[in-house]
């Protein structure tokens, strides 16, 4: 997928002025958050399970090569194949090669972020193969020619009216007088349209929430059942997964599943959790005849052992973006690439380079909610801070900003100087702002004053007041 992460500021401005987006984001603030709280409230062991889930992934990442080899041998034993891809281009070529060999014209797709990462749909289309998204949210954005704006709710930026307009424009064979006012009608229409696509597909492509080293299984977690129809009905099932999806055993998957759905949608379990191992067996009445796994690296192996190692624990639940005030204000598209929100602010620069996404780790208030809800205990603010450091050290930030940060660091490291300058600034600003009580325009602070006033200081700094007060109390106590 093409990135516009370098244009975060412009994207964010547009997003803030988009009334439909703002209406849709307003709905998000209630749904996911309340449900998650309720679900974890019903599970006293939730915090301990987060520790267990983190430990499983840490163990797996420390032994990733060994588990990947074991996983591959078990896939082969079950009659499937594993294809290794270093880059998005290699992954696309592998999928196209498989489709061509199978003479496939129609492909159905379950939800897969890796397909977004490698830009699969456009590539298949260029090569004469029609790929249809079957997750309702993904289908909606596909017919609108948009990218997903959330990793588990890709159409969360849209209102039902916008969806109804798109359905009318696309499903032209249907009665133009039909009512599409209620979400129910929209869901039914998509169900009807996509049923035919499931049966017509030659190849089904899904992602994977987990790969199980012990058994060679891939796991998908869905609510709609589209991922299952995608993989059961066609002749071949292709799984797109990145390296770090592997876990050792079925029991390990059980543990992480307990934190996944609760963190994502506030469900104890999603409606469908499916373990798939190889192609259909002799005597089976349904299922694909071929089973392929495309294992994508795309820079992940190079993250191991670095300060960004911990982002590889991410299980793509979306809790960090659901709880992020920045995401809630600008939505997912502003982030400009596949992965939005706090996890995207770390993963995007990791995969496409900080020089192409330097605004993302800066677009955070460091309030820490993402870290506090992350089921895998990824210290997201810390990882974003590492990218801010790179941003500064590699001179990617604009000169004025680097100069400002340098000056700040110089002063902040010298407390007497800091206190002196702060006292001077407070007095000067206090005097200047005495008349109105606040500033509407200040040199060097126009980004602040353009949208809100800056209250004028009272003339004394906190440090001064504190010092004075503690002296007064002391002398009071002496008396």
């Amino acid at each position: 997928m093409q990135s516009s992460s370098h244009a975060f500021k412009d994207n964010a401005h547009r997003a803030l002025n988009d009334p439909v987006l703002q209406q849709a984001l307003g709905i998000m603030k209630t749904g996911f958050l309340d449900k998650r709280l309720q679900a974890i409230g019903n599970l006293p062991e939730f915090e301990a399970l987060r520790d267990a889930a983190r430990d499983i992934k840490n163990h797996t990442l420390a032994n990733l090569d060994w588990y990947l080899e074991r996983y591959e041998s078990k896939v082969k034993e079950a009659g499937g194949q594993v294809h290794w891809a270093r880059t998005p281009a290699e992954a696309r070529a592998i999928v196209l090669g498989l489709c061509k060999r199978l003479g496939a014209r129609n492909v159905t797709k379950g939800k897969t972020m890796i397909a977004e990462e490698i830009g699969l749909n456009d590539y298949l289309a260029e090569n004469g193969i029609v790929a249809v998204e079957t997750d309702l949210g993904e289908y909606i954005i596909q017919i609108r020619n948009e990218a997903p704006s959330h990793i588990i709710a890709p159409a969360i930026h849209l209102t039902k009216e916008a969806v109804a307009d798109s359905f009318r424009a696309t499903h032209t064979e249907m009665d133009p007088a039909r009512s599409l006012v209620e979400p129910r009608a929209l869901v039914d229409e998509a169900r009807q349209v996509l049923r035919d696509k499931f049966f017509a597909a030659d190849v089904g492509v899904t992602g994977a929430n987990f790969l199980i080293a012990e058994t060679g299984s891939s796991v998908i977690v869905t609510n709609e059942g589209n991922g299952d129809l995608t993989q059961l009905l066609p002749r071949a099932h292709i799984v797109l997964a990145s390296l770090e999806k592997v876990v050792p055993t079925l029991e390990d998957a059980a543990t992480i599943l307990r934190v996944l759905a609760r963190s994502a949608t506030g469900q104890d379990m999603s409606a469908y959790t499916t373990f798939s191992t190889g192609p259909r067996r002799p005597g089976d009445l349904d299922g694909p005849s071929e089973y392929h796994v495309v294992l994508l690296d795309n820079g992940r192996s190079a993250l191991l052992g670095t300060e960004f190692h911990e982002i590889l624990r991410c299980i793509r639940c979306g809790a960090c973006m659901n709880h992020c005030p920045v995401y809630a204000a600008v939505g997912g598209h502003a982030y400009g690439w596949v992965y939005p929100g706090p996890m995207g602010a770390v993963l995007t620069p990791s995969l496409i380079g900080i020089e192409n996404a330097r605004d993302l780790p800066n677009a955070s208030t460091f309030c820490g909610r993402c870290e506090s809800v992350c089921p895998m205990r990824i210290p997201l603010p810390k990882l974003m801070r590492h990218y801010r450091e790179q941003d500064y050290e590699r001179k990617l930030a604009p000169r004025a900003m680097r100069w400002g940060i340098g000056l700040w660091a110089f002063v902040a490291k010298r407390p007497p100087l800091y206190h002196f300058l702060a006292a001077v600034a407070a007095q000067v600003l206090g005097l200047l702002g005495r008349k109105h009580g606040s500033f509407y325009n200040l040199p060097l602070a126009s980004a602040w004053t353009a949208t809100r006033e800056l209250p004028a200081p009272q003339g004394r700094t906190f440090q001064e007041l504190w010092y004075k007060r503690s002296r007064a109390t002391k002398s009071g106590a002496d008396r």
Binding site: K160, A254, G278
Partner: protein, 237 residues
């Protein structure tokens, strides 16, 4: 693409600052897989009596908008199916898994039920399957694909009816894995690769979506209704 494979694995080892794992370290990982020990298991469904497990399952499954009926024996299953369909004004037509458990129910008692056996074709209004196990902790059914149990039945029909002997009820998912290992692993080996059923479906309520304005609608692509018939067999008596 064996180049890619070697390069990726080599890259992983370089990043982890070591070579390929062997000797004791590799043996420890082998041992971890062989033991496949459960991690922390929540107390919710742990160490409770069979009847309470069924009660917990019913509560949890109802929570996710499945319906649950209980019958005394397999003899009562055809009546339960017919009554469920009639009660919802659904046609008495279905595709049923060719499962030996379902063969043992006296379907002849309900001659008006139109029953086809095999995989689903998408035209049947209802599908009937037997569960391999069920997880009380979350109200989840576990179905394994095979010559007796086509997985398409779990997704294509509008109504999915699942017959579940109470003896197949377990507490947590870890206990379901133990049952699977016991049933499918070759003698003196553990499960994996070809001994795993092709598809294992964990089903927790009917199909749903929240993709439009986060409003939950049932029956997105899979069944709109999930009805579970618990057969209270000998374990509960």
């Amino acid at each position: 693409m064996s180049d890619a494979r070697e390069q990726i694995l080599g890259g992983v080892r370089r990043s982890l600052k070591r070579g390929a794992l062997e000797g004791e370290h590799a043996a420890a990982l082998e041992d971890r897989l062989r033991r496949h020990a459960p991690n922390l298991v929540p107390g919710r469904a742990f160490g409770i009596a069979p009847r309470q497990l069924v009660d917990l399952f019913e509560t949890q499954a109802s929570e996710v908008l499945a319906t649950v009926a209980r019958v005394r024996s397999l003899d009562a299953v055809p009546d339960a199916v017919a009554e469920y369909l009639a009660g919802r004004n659904l046609p008495p037509e279905m595709t049923m898994a060719p499962d030996p458990l379902l063969d043992r129910a006296p379907w002849g008692k309900r001659p008006l039920l139109k029953i086809r056996r095999g995989a689903a074709d998408g035209k049947e209004p209802a599908g009937v399957s037997a569960a391999f196990a069920a997880i009380a902790e979350t109200g989840t059914l576990m179905l394994t694909s095979g010559k007796d149990s086509p997985a398409t039945l779990n997704f294509l029909p509008d109504t999915h009816i699942v017959v579940l002997p109470a003896s197949r009820m377990v507490g947590p998912m870890e206990a379901a894995w133990a049952r699977l290992r016991h049933a499918f692993a070759p003698p003196d080996e553990d499960i994996g690769g070809s001994s795993m059923p092709r598809t294992i479906n964990f089903i927790t309520g009917p199909s749903r979506t929240g993709d439009i304005e986060q409003k939950i609608e049932m029956g997105a692509h899979g069944p709109r209704r999930l009805h579970i018939i618990v057969v209270e067999d000998e374990t509960l008596r």
